[in-house]
Protein backbone atom coordinates (compact mmCIF):
# COMPACT_ATOMS: atom_id res chain seq x y z
CA UNK A 1 0.00 0.00 0.00
CA UNK A 2 1.06 3.55 -0.64
CA UNK A 3 1.36 5.50 2.61
CA UNK A 4 -1.67 7.65 3.39
CA UNK A 5 -3.03 9.67 6.24
CA UNK A 6 -5.89 8.27 8.23
CA UNK A 7 -8.81 10.00 9.86
CA UNK A 8 -11.54 8.50 11.97
CA UNK A 9 -14.34 11.05 12.33
CA UNK A 10 -17.25 10.58 14.73
CA UNK A 11 -19.93 12.57 12.93
CA UNK A 12 -21.25 12.93 9.40
CA UNK A 13 -20.26 16.58 9.45
CA UNK A 14 -16.66 15.70 10.31
CA UNK A 15 -16.63 13.18 7.43
CA UNK A 16 -17.56 15.90 4.94
CA UNK A 17 -14.89 18.21 6.28
CA UNK A 18 -12.26 15.54 5.65
CA UNK A 19 -13.24 14.67 2.09
CA UNK A 20 -11.47 16.35 -0.79
CA UNK A 21 -13.09 17.58 -3.99
CA UNK A 22 -10.24 16.00 -5.98
CA UNK A 23 -11.04 12.58 -7.38
CA UNK A 24 -8.65 9.98 -6.03
CA UNK A 25 -7.30 12.14 -3.18
CA UNK A 26 -9.51 10.67 -0.48
CA UNK A 27 -11.10 7.26 -0.23
CA UNK A 28 -13.92 6.38 2.13
CA UNK A 29 -13.29 3.22 4.14
CA UNK A 30 -16.22 1.14 5.33
CA UNK A 31 -15.85 -2.61 6.00
CA UNK A 32 -12.58 -2.85 4.08
CA UNK A 33 -13.40 -6.05 2.21
CA UNK A 34 -12.84 -4.38 -1.18
CA UNK A 35 -10.89 -1.16 -0.60
CA UNK A 36 -8.00 -2.63 1.39
CA UNK A 37 -7.28 -5.19 -1.34
CA UNK A 38 -7.47 -2.46 -4.00
CA UNK A 39 -5.02 -0.31 -2.06
CA UNK A 40 -2.62 -3.21 -1.48
CA UNK A 41 -2.54 -3.87 -5.20
CA UNK A 42 -1.99 -0.13 -5.79
CA UNK A 43 -5.08 0.06 -7.99
CA UNK A 44 -6.41 2.72 -5.64
CA UNK A 45 -3.78 5.06 -4.16
CA UNK A 46 -5.40 7.70 -1.97
CA UNK A 47 -3.49 10.34 -0.02
CA UNK A 48 -6.05 10.16 2.75
CA UNK A 49 -8.41 7.44 3.99
CA UNK A 50 -11.49 8.55 5.89
CA UNK A 51 -12.82 5.68 7.97
CA UNK A 52 -16.55 5.63 8.66
CA UNK A 53 -16.13 2.96 11.32
CA UNK A 54 -16.70 5.29 14.26
CA UNK A 55 -19.63 7.25 12.85
CA UNK A 56 -22.36 5.73 14.99
CA UNK A 57 -25.20 7.58 13.26
CA UNK A 58 -24.53 5.46 10.16
CA UNK A 59 -25.07 2.17 11.99
CA UNK A 60 -28.79 2.25 12.73
CA UNK A 61 -31.87 0.69 11.15
CA UNK A 62 -35.01 2.77 11.80
CA UNK A 63 -38.46 1.82 10.59
CA UNK A 64 -41.57 3.98 10.57
CA UNK A 65 -44.96 3.40 8.98
CA UNK A 66 -43.86 4.42 5.48
CA UNK A 67 -40.19 3.50 5.16
CA UNK A 68 -37.13 1.79 6.60
CA UNK A 69 -33.92 3.79 6.92
CA UNK A 70 -30.82 1.61 6.80
CA UNK A 71 -27.54 3.28 7.75
CA UNK A 72 -24.68 2.87 5.28
CA UNK A 73 -22.46 1.30 7.95
CA UNK A 74 -24.97 -1.39 8.93
CA UNK A 75 -23.27 -4.70 8.23
CA UNK A 76 -24.80 -7.05 5.67
CA UNK A 77 -25.28 -9.65 8.38
CA UNK A 78 -27.10 -7.24 10.67
CA UNK A 79 -29.39 -6.15 7.84
CA UNK A 80 -30.25 -9.73 6.85
CA UNK A 81 -30.84 -10.70 10.49
CA UNK A 82 -33.09 -7.72 11.17
CA UNK A 83 -36.77 -8.72 11.50
CA UNK A 84 -37.69 -5.95 9.06
CA UNK A 85 -36.30 -8.13 6.26
CA UNK A 86 -39.38 -10.36 6.62
CA UNK A 87 -40.98 -7.72 4.43
CA UNK A 88 -38.11 -7.68 1.94
CA UNK A 89 -37.26 -11.29 1.13
CA UNK A 90 -35.23 -10.17 -1.91
CA UNK A 91 -32.72 -8.51 0.45
CA UNK A 92 -32.44 -11.45 2.80
CA UNK A 93 -31.99 -13.84 -0.13
CA UNK A 94 -29.37 -11.66 -1.82
CA UNK A 95 -27.29 -11.39 1.35
CA UNK A 96 -27.82 -15.06 2.14
CA UNK A 97 -26.18 -15.94 -1.18
CA UNK A 98 -23.06 -13.94 -0.34
CA UNK A 99 -20.28 -16.13 0.88
CA UNK A 100 -18.60 -15.84 3.23
CA UNK A 101 -19.65 -15.33 6.84
CA UNK A 102 -16.76 -12.90 7.28
CA UNK A 103 -17.80 -10.95 4.20
CA UNK A 104 -21.32 -10.60 5.61
CA UNK A 105 -20.09 -9.72 9.09
CA UNK A 106 -17.46 -7.23 7.93
CA UNK A 107 -19.06 -5.83 4.77
CA UNK A 108 -21.47 -2.93 5.02
CA UNK A 109 -24.52 -1.87 3.05
CA UNK A 110 -22.86 1.32 1.76
CA UNK A 111 -19.63 -0.48 0.95
CA UNK A 112 -21.44 -3.24 -0.90
CA UNK A 113 -23.19 -0.67 -3.08
CA UNK A 114 -19.96 1.26 -3.78
CA UNK A 115 -17.58 -1.67 -4.33
CA UNK A 116 -15.48 -1.43 -7.45
CA UNK A 117 -16.01 -3.71 -10.49
CA UNK A 118 -14.54 -7.20 -10.46
CA UNK A 119 -13.42 -6.69 -14.09
CA UNK A 120 -10.03 -8.36 -14.32
CA UNK A 121 -8.65 -5.67 -16.60
CA UNK A 122 -9.51 -3.03 -14.00
CA UNK A 123 -7.97 -5.22 -11.29
CA UNK A 124 -4.91 -5.60 -13.52
CA UNK A 125 -4.49 -1.79 -13.44
CA UNK A 126 -5.59 -1.30 -17.02
CA UNK A 127 -8.19 1.25 -16.00
CA UNK A 128 -11.89 1.22 -15.24
CA UNK A 129 -12.62 1.35 -18.97
CA UNK A 130 -9.84 -1.16 -19.73
CA UNK A 131 -7.93 0.85 -22.30
CA UNK A 132 -11.03 2.59 -23.61
CA UNK A 133 -12.84 -0.71 -23.88
CA UNK A 134 -10.31 -2.23 -26.24
CA UNK A 135 -8.86 -4.70 -23.73
CA UNK A 136 -12.33 -6.09 -23.08
CA UNK A 137 -13.36 -6.21 -26.70
CA UNK A 138 -10.22 -8.01 -27.81
CA UNK A 139 -9.55 -10.00 -24.66
CA UNK A 140 -11.28 -12.50 -22.42
CA UNK A 141 -14.64 -10.90 -21.70
CA UNK A 142 -16.52 -13.90 -20.37
CA UNK A 143 -17.59 -12.06 -17.21
CA UNK A 144 -18.34 -8.72 -18.83
CA UNK A 145 -21.51 -6.88 -19.77
CA UNK A 146 -24.18 -8.15 -22.14
CA UNK A 147 -26.34 -5.02 -21.86
CA UNK A 148 -25.39 -1.35 -22.10
CA UNK A 149 -21.93 -2.25 -23.37
CA UNK A 150 -21.73 -0.23 -26.56
CA UNK A 151 -19.89 2.64 -24.91
CA UNK A 152 -16.33 2.45 -23.60
CA UNK A 153 -17.34 0.82 -20.31
CA UNK A 154 -17.95 -2.90 -20.61
CA UNK A 155 -17.44 -4.12 -17.04
CA UNK A 156 -20.38 -5.58 -15.15
CA UNK A 157 -21.78 -3.90 -12.05
CA UNK A 158 -20.54 -5.95 -9.08
CA UNK A 159 -23.09 -5.18 -6.37
CA UNK A 160 -25.17 -8.16 -5.31
CA UNK A 161 -27.46 -6.07 -3.13
CA UNK A 162 -28.27 -3.37 -5.68
CA UNK A 163 -30.60 -5.44 -7.91
CA UNK A 164 -32.75 -6.32 -4.88
CA UNK A 165 -32.75 -2.74 -3.58
CA UNK A 166 -33.62 -1.35 -7.01
CA UNK A 167 -36.43 -3.88 -7.43
CA UNK A 168 -37.70 -2.71 -4.03
CA UNK A 169 -37.58 0.93 -5.23
CA UNK A 170 -34.96 1.96 -2.68
CA UNK A 171 -33.49 5.43 -2.56
CA UNK A 172 -30.12 6.52 -1.24
CA UNK A 173 -29.41 9.53 0.94
CA UNK A 174 -26.27 11.34 -0.17
CA UNK A 175 -24.58 13.91 2.04
CA UNK A 176 -22.30 16.72 0.92
CA UNK A 177 -20.32 18.33 -0.47
CA UNK A 178 -21.12 21.02 2.13
CA UNK A 179 -22.37 20.24 5.61
CA UNK A 180 -26.15 20.29 5.43
CA UNK A 181 -26.29 19.34 1.75
CA UNK A 182 -28.46 16.31 1.27
CA UNK A 183 -29.76 14.55 -1.84
CA UNK A 184 -32.26 11.72 -2.03
CA UNK A 185 -32.18 9.75 -5.23
CA UNK A 186 -33.48 6.44 -6.52
CA UNK A 187 -30.68 3.89 -6.36
CA UNK A 188 -30.88 3.26 -10.11
CA UNK A 189 -30.14 6.94 -10.71
CA UNK A 190 -27.15 6.76 -8.35
CA UNK A 191 -25.39 4.42 -10.75
CA UNK A 192 -24.28 5.57 -14.18
CA UNK A 193 -21.99 4.23 -16.86
CA UNK A 194 -18.66 6.09 -16.80
CA UNK A 195 -17.65 7.70 -20.08
CA UNK A 196 -14.05 8.46 -19.14
CA UNK A 197 -11.42 7.32 -16.68
CA UNK A 198 -12.16 10.42 -14.65
CA UNK A 199 -15.65 9.18 -13.83
CA UNK A 200 -16.71 6.46 -11.48
CA UNK A 201 -19.48 3.90 -11.63
CA UNK A 202 -21.81 6.16 -9.70
CA UNK A 203 -22.73 9.82 -9.54
CA UNK A 204 -21.11 10.52 -6.16
CA UNK A 205 -18.77 13.48 -6.14
CA UNK A 206 -15.48 12.74 -4.37
CA UNK A 207 -16.60 14.90 -1.45
CA UNK A 208 -19.98 13.24 -1.02
CA UNK A 209 -20.90 9.95 0.61
CA UNK A 210 -23.87 7.63 0.94
CA UNK A 211 -25.33 7.81 4.43
CA UNK A 212 -28.50 5.78 4.14
CA UNK A 213 -30.59 3.44 2.05
CA UNK A 214 -34.32 4.11 2.29
CA UNK A 215 -36.73 1.30 1.60
CA UNK A 216 -40.38 2.17 0.99
CA UNK A 217 -43.02 0.09 2.77
CA UNK A 218 -43.68 -2.91 0.49
CA UNK A 219 -47.47 -2.29 0.53
CA UNK A 220 -48.21 -5.91 -0.22
CA UNK A 221 -45.51 -6.42 -2.84
CA UNK A 222 -43.66 -9.71 -2.85
CA UNK A 223 -40.03 -9.96 -3.88
CA UNK A 224 -37.19 -12.36 -4.55
CA UNK A 225 -33.56 -12.51 -5.65
CA UNK A 226 -31.99 -15.20 -7.77
CA UNK A 227 -28.29 -15.65 -8.48
CA UNK A 228 -26.67 -17.94 -11.04
CA UNK A 229 -23.29 -18.97 -9.69
CA UNK A 230 -20.63 -21.31 -10.91
CA UNK A 231 -20.45 -24.03 -8.30
CA UNK A 232 -21.00 -23.63 -4.58
CA UNK A 233 -17.80 -21.74 -3.76
CA UNK A 234 -17.42 -18.16 -2.57
CA UNK A 235 -17.55 -16.69 -6.06
CA UNK A 236 -19.44 -13.77 -7.47
CA UNK A 237 -22.53 -14.72 -9.44
CA UNK A 238 -22.37 -14.86 -13.21
CA UNK A 239 -25.78 -13.23 -13.46
CA UNK A 240 -28.34 -12.16 -10.87
CA UNK A 241 -31.90 -10.91 -10.99
CA UNK A 242 -34.35 -9.51 -8.47
CA UNK A 243 -38.05 -8.91 -8.82
CA UNK A 244 -40.66 -7.13 -6.75
CA UNK A 245 -44.27 -7.49 -7.82
CA UNK A 246 -47.69 -6.33 -6.68
CA UNK A 247 -50.20 -9.08 -7.39
CA UNK A 248 -53.93 -8.65 -6.83
CA UNK A 249 -56.60 -11.05 -8.01
CA UNK A 250 -53.86 -13.28 -9.37
CA UNK A 251 -52.70 -10.59 -11.81
CA UNK A 252 -49.42 -8.63 -11.69
CA UNK A 253 -50.40 -4.97 -11.33
CA UNK A 254 -46.91 -3.53 -10.90
CA UNK A 255 -43.44 -5.00 -11.27
CA UNK A 256 -39.85 -3.91 -10.86
CA UNK A 257 -37.19 -6.24 -12.24
CA UNK A 258 -33.46 -5.53 -11.99
CA UNK A 259 -30.46 -7.58 -13.07
CA UNK A 260 -26.93 -7.59 -11.70
CA UNK A 261 -23.56 -8.56 -13.26
CA UNK A 262 -24.90 -7.93 -16.77
CA UNK A 263 -24.22 -4.24 -17.50
CA UNK A 264 -21.95 -1.44 -16.24
CA UNK A 265 -24.82 -0.48 -13.93
CA UNK A 266 -27.52 -2.57 -12.30
CA UNK A 267 -29.90 -3.12 -15.19
CA UNK A 268 -33.62 -2.44 -14.94
CA UNK A 269 -35.37 -4.55 -17.53
CA UNK A 270 -38.21 -2.45 -18.89
CA UNK A 271 -38.89 -5.24 -21.41
CA UNK A 272 -39.37 -7.89 -18.72
CA UNK A 273 -41.58 -5.57 -16.68
CA UNK A 274 -43.80 -4.83 -19.67
CA UNK A 275 -44.00 -8.54 -20.46
CA UNK A 276 -45.28 -9.55 -17.01
CA UNK A 277 -47.59 -6.68 -15.98
CA UNK A 278 -51.24 -7.56 -16.57
CA UNK A 279 -50.64 -11.30 -16.46
CA UNK A 280 -50.55 -13.95 -13.74
CA UNK A 281 -47.13 -15.32 -12.82
CA UNK A 282 -46.68 -18.87 -14.01
CA UNK A 283 -43.96 -20.84 -15.73
CA UNK A 284 -44.93 -19.60 -19.21
CA UNK A 285 -45.34 -15.91 -18.39
CA UNK A 286 -42.15 -15.86 -16.32
CA UNK A 287 -40.24 -17.49 -19.15
CA UNK A 288 -41.66 -14.95 -21.60
CA UNK A 289 -40.53 -12.14 -19.32
CA UNK A 290 -37.03 -13.63 -19.27
CA UNK A 291 -37.07 -13.86 -23.04
CA UNK A 292 -38.21 -10.24 -23.28
CA UNK A 293 -35.40 -9.17 -20.95
CA UNK A 294 -32.70 -10.58 -23.20
CA UNK A 295 -34.28 -9.36 -26.44
CA UNK A 296 -32.07 -6.27 -26.15
CA UNK A 297 -28.87 -8.10 -25.17
CA UNK A 298 -25.66 -7.38 -27.08
CA UNK A 299 -23.16 -10.02 -25.92
CA UNK A 300 -19.42 -9.66 -26.48
CA UNK A 301 -17.19 -12.26 -28.13
CA UNK A 302 -16.99 -14.64 -25.14
CA UNK A 303 -20.10 -14.08 -23.04
CA UNK A 304 -23.08 -15.13 -25.06
CA UNK A 305 -23.78 -17.80 -22.43
CA UNK A 306 -24.77 -14.98 -20.06
CA UNK A 307 -27.77 -14.22 -22.26
CA UNK A 308 -29.30 -17.59 -21.45
CA UNK A 309 -28.39 -17.18 -17.77
CA UNK A 310 -30.03 -13.74 -17.65
CA UNK A 311 -33.19 -15.15 -19.19
CA UNK A 312 -33.33 -17.92 -16.61
CA UNK A 313 -32.49 -15.57 -13.73
CA UNK A 314 -35.42 -13.28 -14.57
CA UNK A 315 -37.76 -16.24 -14.92
CA UNK A 316 -36.70 -17.76 -11.61
CA UNK A 317 -36.73 -14.47 -9.70
CA UNK A 318 -40.35 -13.98 -10.78
CA UNK A 319 -41.35 -17.55 -9.94
CA UNK A 320 -39.60 -17.29 -6.57
CA UNK A 321 -41.31 -13.98 -5.76
CA UNK A 322 -44.65 -15.61 -6.49
CA UNK A 323 -43.76 -18.53 -4.22
CA UNK A 324 -43.62 -21.01 -7.09
CA UNK A 325 -41.08 -23.72 -7.82
CA UNK A 326 -38.17 -22.27 -9.76
CA UNK A 327 -36.92 -25.54 -11.19
CA UNK A 328 -33.23 -26.32 -11.52
CA UNK A 329 -30.91 -27.12 -8.64
CA UNK A 330 -31.78 -25.48 -5.37
Amino acid sequence: MKAFEYASPRTEREVLELLSADRGHTEILAGGTDLIGLMKKMIVKPDRVVSLNRVDSLKTIDANSTAVHVGAMVTLEDLADNPICEFYPAIRQAIGEMASQQLRAQGTVGGELCQRPRCWFFRDKRGLLAERGRAVEEGDNRFHAIFGNRGLAKFSAPSRLAPALIALDARVRILGPNPGDETLMPLEVFYRTPKSEREREHTLEPNQFVSQVILPHPEGRVSASYEVRHGMGPEYPLVAAAASVLVTGGIVREARIALGQVAPTPWISREAIDAIVGLPINYETAEAAGQAAVSVASPLSHNEYKVQLAKVAVKRALLKAAGLETGGLS
Binding site: M1, K2, A3, F4, E5, Y6, A7, S8, P9, R10, E14, E17, L18, L29, G31, G32, T33, D34, I36, G37, M39, K40, K41, R48, V49, S51, N53, R54, T75, E77, A99, S100, Q101, Q102, L103, A105, Q106, M232, G233, P234
Partner: protein
Protein backbone atom coordinates in the same frame (compact mmCIF):
# COMPACT_ATOMS: atom_id res chain seq x y z
CA UNK B 1 34.20 -10.28 -0.95
CA UNK B 2 33.92 -9.72 2.75
CA UNK B 3 31.31 -11.59 4.66
CA UNK B 4 28.83 -9.31 6.45
CA UNK B 5 29.23 -9.79 10.16
CA UNK B 6 26.44 -11.35 12.12
CA UNK B 7 25.18 -8.21 13.76
CA UNK B 8 24.30 -6.89 10.33
CA UNK B 9 26.56 -3.86 10.79
CA UNK B 10 27.68 -2.18 7.63
CA UNK B 11 30.70 0.05 7.17
CA UNK B 12 29.12 2.97 8.91
CA UNK B 13 29.01 0.97 12.12
CA UNK B 14 25.25 1.48 12.44
CA UNK B 15 23.23 -1.72 12.26
CA UNK B 16 20.47 -1.82 9.69
CA UNK B 17 17.97 -2.54 12.43
CA UNK B 18 19.05 0.45 14.49
CA UNK B 19 18.83 2.64 11.41
CA UNK B 20 15.30 1.50 10.61
CA UNK B 21 14.30 2.11 14.18
CA UNK B 22 15.77 5.58 14.03
CA UNK B 23 13.92 6.55 10.86
CA UNK B 24 10.72 5.21 12.40
CA UNK B 25 11.19 7.36 15.45
CA UNK B 26 11.63 10.38 13.21
CA UNK B 27 8.41 9.57 11.36
CA UNK B 28 6.58 9.10 14.64
CA UNK B 29 7.79 12.43 15.88
CA UNK B 30 6.51 14.10 12.72
CA UNK B 31 3.14 12.47 13.19
CA UNK B 32 2.99 13.66 16.76
CA UNK B 33 3.65 17.25 15.87
CA UNK B 34 1.12 16.99 13.06
CA UNK B 35 -1.61 15.84 15.40
CA UNK B 36 -1.13 17.15 18.90
CA UNK B 37 -3.46 16.14 21.69
CA UNK B 38 -4.43 12.85 20.07
CA UNK B 39 -2.40 10.89 22.56
CA UNK B 40 -1.38 8.84 19.55
CA UNK B 41 -4.50 6.74 19.67
CA UNK B 42 -5.44 7.59 16.09
CA UNK B 43 -9.08 7.91 16.89
CA UNK B 44 -10.16 11.34 15.86
CA UNK B 45 -11.18 13.55 13.00
CA UNK B 46 -7.66 14.96 12.87
CA UNK B 47 -5.74 13.03 10.18
CA UNK B 48 -2.71 11.07 11.39
CA UNK B 49 0.28 9.99 9.31
CA UNK B 50 3.44 8.00 9.85
CA UNK B 51 4.24 5.76 12.79
CA UNK B 52 1.85 6.06 15.69
CA UNK B 53 1.48 4.02 18.86
CA UNK B 54 -1.98 2.59 19.37
CA UNK B 55 -3.48 0.20 21.88
CA UNK B 56 -5.05 -3.01 20.64
CA UNK B 57 -6.96 -5.27 23.00
CA UNK B 58 -5.99 -8.76 21.94
CA UNK B 59 -7.14 -11.89 23.77
CA UNK B 60 -8.22 -9.78 26.72
CA UNK B 61 -4.96 -7.88 27.15
CA UNK B 62 -4.25 -4.32 25.99
CA UNK B 63 -1.06 -4.09 23.95
CA UNK B 64 0.77 -1.01 22.73
CA UNK B 65 1.84 -1.41 19.14
CA UNK B 66 3.45 0.95 16.67
CA UNK B 67 1.64 1.16 13.35
CA UNK B 68 1.24 3.31 10.28
CA UNK B 69 -2.18 4.19 8.88
CA UNK B 70 -1.64 1.55 6.19
CA UNK B 71 -0.76 -1.21 8.67
CA UNK B 72 -3.39 -3.91 8.59
CA UNK B 73 -4.55 -5.66 11.74
CA UNK B 74 -2.83 -8.80 10.44
CA UNK B 75 0.52 -7.01 10.15
CA UNK B 76 0.11 -5.51 13.63
CA UNK B 77 -0.65 -8.93 15.10
CA UNK B 78 2.12 -10.80 13.32
CA UNK B 79 4.90 -8.21 13.22
CA UNK B 80 4.02 -6.04 16.19
CA UNK B 81 2.71 -8.57 18.69
CA UNK B 82 4.31 -11.77 17.42
CA UNK B 83 0.93 -13.47 17.18
CA UNK B 84 1.55 -15.43 14.00
CA UNK B 85 -1.50 -17.70 14.04
CA UNK B 86 -3.52 -15.68 11.54
CA UNK B 87 -1.89 -16.10 8.13
CA UNK B 88 -1.25 -13.79 5.16
CA UNK B 89 -2.55 -16.20 2.53
CA UNK B 90 -4.47 -13.81 0.28
CA UNK B 91 -4.07 -10.06 -0.01
CA UNK B 92 -7.79 -9.37 -0.23
CA UNK B 93 -9.25 -11.77 2.32
CA UNK B 94 -10.43 -14.28 -0.28
CA UNK B 95 -8.87 -17.27 1.50
CA UNK B 96 -10.08 -16.71 5.07
CA UNK B 97 -6.54 -17.45 6.26
CA UNK B 98 -6.29 -14.29 8.36
CA UNK B 99 -9.52 -14.71 10.30
CA UNK B 100 -9.77 -13.36 13.81
CA UNK B 101 -12.78 -12.39 15.87
CA UNK B 102 -13.42 -8.67 16.23
CA UNK B 103 -16.16 -7.96 18.75
CA UNK B 104 -17.10 -11.63 18.28
CA UNK B 105 -17.53 -11.27 14.50
CA UNK B 106 -15.38 -13.20 12.01
CA UNK B 107 -13.06 -10.67 10.38
CA UNK B 108 -10.26 -10.96 7.85
CA UNK B 109 -7.39 -9.30 9.70
CA UNK B 110 -5.72 -8.52 6.38
CA UNK B 111 -8.60 -6.37 5.13
CA UNK B 112 -8.98 -4.09 8.15
CA UNK B 113 -6.68 -1.30 9.26
CA UNK B 114 -5.08 -1.67 12.68
CA UNK B 115 -6.08 1.91 13.53
CA UNK B 116 -9.74 1.02 12.97
CA UNK B 117 -9.41 -1.73 15.59
CA UNK B 118 -8.61 0.52 18.55
CA UNK B 119 -11.25 -0.04 21.23
CA UNK B 120 -12.44 -3.32 19.79
CA UNK B 121 -12.15 -6.77 21.32
CA UNK B 122 -9.81 -8.88 19.18
CA UNK B 123 -9.58 -12.63 19.68
CA UNK B 124 -6.97 -14.67 17.84
CA UNK B 125 -6.47 -18.41 17.45
CA UNK B 126 -3.70 -18.27 20.08
CA UNK B 127 -6.34 -17.74 22.78
CA UNK B 128 -7.77 -21.21 22.22
CA UNK B 129 -4.99 -22.94 24.11
CA UNK B 130 -4.04 -21.92 27.63
CA UNK B 131 -1.87 -24.19 29.71
CA UNK B 132 -3.31 -27.69 29.45
CA UNK B 133 -6.73 -26.51 28.32
CA UNK B 134 -7.40 -26.86 24.61
CA UNK B 135 -10.61 -25.51 23.12
CA UNK B 136 -13.05 -28.07 21.69
CA UNK B 137 -12.61 -26.89 18.09
CA UNK B 138 -8.83 -27.34 17.74
CA UNK B 139 -9.14 -30.56 19.74
CA UNK B 140 -11.67 -31.90 17.24
CA UNK B 141 -9.35 -30.89 14.39
CA UNK B 142 -6.64 -33.00 16.03
CA UNK B 143 -8.97 -35.98 16.56
CA UNK B 144 -10.02 -35.92 12.93
CA UNK B 145 -6.62 -35.16 11.44
CA UNK B 146 -8.22 -32.11 9.86
CA UNK B 147 -5.08 -30.37 8.69
CA UNK B 148 -2.32 -31.30 6.28
CA UNK B 149 0.16 -28.50 5.61
CA UNK B 150 -1.62 -26.56 8.36
CA UNK B 151 -1.45 -23.14 6.79
CA UNK B 152 -5.22 -22.64 6.52
CA UNK B 153 -5.94 -24.29 9.87
CA UNK B 154 -5.84 -21.24 12.21
CA UNK B 155 -8.22 -19.34 9.94
CA UNK B 156 -10.44 -22.38 9.62
CA UNK B 157 -10.59 -22.86 13.39
CA UNK B 158 -11.66 -19.23 13.90
CA UNK B 159 -14.21 -19.64 11.11
CA UNK B 160 -15.65 -22.69 12.88
CA UNK B 161 -15.72 -20.84 16.22
CA UNK B 162 -17.63 -17.95 14.65
CA UNK B 163 -19.95 -20.17 12.66
CA UNK B 164 -20.88 -22.41 15.58
CA UNK B 165 -21.39 -19.44 17.89
CA UNK B 166 -24.21 -18.40 15.55
CA UNK B 167 -25.30 -21.89 14.47
CA UNK B 168 -24.65 -24.22 17.42
CA UNK B 169 -26.87 -26.98 16.00
CA UNK B 170 -25.73 -26.79 12.40
CA UNK B 171 -26.27 -29.70 10.03
CA UNK B 172 -23.61 -30.96 7.67
CA UNK B 173 -25.12 -29.03 4.75
CA UNK B 174 -25.20 -25.84 6.83
CA UNK B 175 -21.58 -26.35 7.90
CA UNK B 176 -20.48 -26.77 4.29
CA UNK B 177 -22.30 -23.60 3.25
CA UNK B 178 -21.30 -21.68 6.38
CA UNK B 179 -17.57 -22.28 6.03
CA UNK B 180 -17.63 -21.23 2.40
CA UNK B 181 -15.14 -18.40 2.87
CA UNK B 182 -12.20 -20.55 3.92
CA UNK B 183 -10.06 -22.36 1.42
CA UNK B 184 -7.77 -25.34 1.97
CA UNK B 185 -5.41 -26.10 -0.89
CA UNK B 186 -4.57 -29.54 0.55
CA UNK B 187 -8.25 -30.43 0.46
CA UNK B 188 -8.74 -31.41 4.09
CA UNK B 189 -12.42 -30.50 3.94
CA UNK B 190 -13.28 -34.18 4.15
CA UNK B 191 -11.83 -34.26 7.67
CA UNK B 192 -12.81 -30.75 8.73
CA UNK B 193 -16.54 -31.43 8.29
CA UNK B 194 -16.56 -34.46 10.66
CA UNK B 195 -14.47 -32.44 13.13
CA UNK B 196 -17.08 -29.68 13.16
CA UNK B 197 -19.90 -32.20 13.43
CA UNK B 198 -18.16 -33.67 16.47
CA UNK B 199 -18.08 -30.26 18.13
CA UNK B 200 -21.80 -29.80 17.37
CA UNK B 201 -22.56 -33.21 18.87
CA UNK B 202 -20.49 -32.55 21.96
CA UNK B 203 -22.04 -29.09 22.36
CA UNK B 204 -18.57 -27.90 23.25
CA UNK B 205 -17.84 -24.78 21.27
CA UNK B 206 -15.67 -23.33 24.02
Amino acid sequence: MSKPDETGRGRSGVSRRAFLKGSGAAAAATAMTGAPGLEAEAQGAEPVAGLTTITLTVNGTPHKVEVEPRTTLLEALRMGLNLTGAKPISVDGASGGSLVLVDDKPTSANTVLAMDMVGKKIVTVESLISGDRVDAVPMAFVHHDASQCGFCTPGFIIAVKAFLAKNPKATEAEIRAGLNGNLCRCGTYANIIPAVLEVVKGGGNG
